[in-house]
Amino acid sequence: MLLDPAAGYLLDLGGALLFAAAAAHKLRDLPAFTEAFVAFRVLPDAWARRAARLVPCVELATALALALTPASASAATRRAAALAASGLLLAYASAIALNLVRGRRELDCGCGGRRDRRPIASWMVWRNVMIAAALGAAALPWTARPLGPADVLTVAGGLTVAALLYAAVDRLCGEIAPRALAMRGMP
């Protein structure tokens, strides 16, 4: 199956935006993220402390690779970047799923800063799996066709809408749905 390059650009750049934002969040308050990462208990504590610093670096590298490879480098590098991004998201999804299975529903997801503590939830697993699938699709071979102004419109418009919808869904599932649920339990 072949992917149209405009769709490919949209997926790659969207992924780059997502990873850059994620890395920026973590780098802004690295100590808080380190605590959250250790609390996930997917690695022994001493390892996790060291690995926590690597996570934002890996995210930043992935963001750069996703943003830069589609235009210049070979198809193989482009596919590697998309697959790495997809793998990273699946790893997060499994870490969250593992802790949900362990019953640790109060665990901080580590996606915001110290102020914005948010417990892990199953919708985060689904979100990550869905974005991972989209980035996996970007790893498919692209058709070769010259890009025109209409494609710029597609990519720019698509990115804007994707970012806005991501923010809206994030708020809806992360803040509003849990509160509505809590209110239903009120006397």
Partner: protein
């Protein structure tokens, strides 16, 4: 072709506008939830009774000072025990009210903040919200003794160590109704209306 391009551009603009509108609606929904969130009854029916002795608990505040919550006090001052948490948005909205009450009710009332959880988080909360002027207690037994079910929760204890009012406090009005209850000598607004009804009947 031009018509298609124009139509496509228009569609993109509309989709972006719709997404912006959706995000705005979601944010408004969040604000709405925050406003109406835990509007509970001020008085809770179960557990501790207003007018009886408050549970006495010896605790230490974040600065290491020893406090005996619920004990009778020689200096004739009442204590407002305010249960808050760094993770509770309504509590944050209430903090300015507490600060102004601390000054306004200074002549008869001490306000003590109480919370539960990681001490490091609490210190960060105290620092970020500038709560240095309050005594701040981190103690799980305290919350259990006062049967705190939801936050922000207040308990008003008079100088004899008698519980004068307790319940969920969401707004300035709720907090002031506690002070008003103390001032008038009624445990709650319900009590006030009952007493007024009796007086009329007599």
């Amino acid at each position: 072709m031009t018509a298609l391009a124009v139509s496509n551009l228009t569609l993109w603009l509309v989709v972006i506008a719709l997404s912006v509108a959706l995000l705005a609606v979601v944010r408004q929904l969040g604000v709405l939830h925050e406003r109406i969130a835990p509007v509970g009854a001020l008085m809770l029916a179960n557990g501790l009774k207003v007018g009886e002795s408050a549970p006495q608990i010896a605790v230490q505040d974040l600065d290491g000072r020893a406090l005996s919550v619920g004990a009778a006090r020689a200096d004739e001052r009442a204590t407002l025990l305010m249960f808050v948490s760094p993770t509770c948005p309504v509590c944050k909205a209430l903090l300015p009210v507490l600060k102004s009450s601390l000054t306004a009710e200074r002549h008869w009332l001490d306000i003590v903040l109480a919370s539960d959880g990681e001490v490091a988080d609490q210190r960060e909360f105290v620092r970020a919200q500038r709560l240095g002027e309050f005594a701040y207690i981190v103690s799980a037994p305290l919350g259990i003794a006062y049967q705190v079910s939801r936050l922000p929760f207040a308990a008003l204890i008079d100088s004899q160590g008698v519980l004068r009012a307790r319940g969920i406090v969401n707004s300035r009005e709720h907090l002031e109704s506690l002070f008003e209850a103390k001032r008038l000598g009624f445990a709650s607004i319900q009590d006030y209306f009952e007493a007024a009804a009796k007086k009329r009947a007599a």
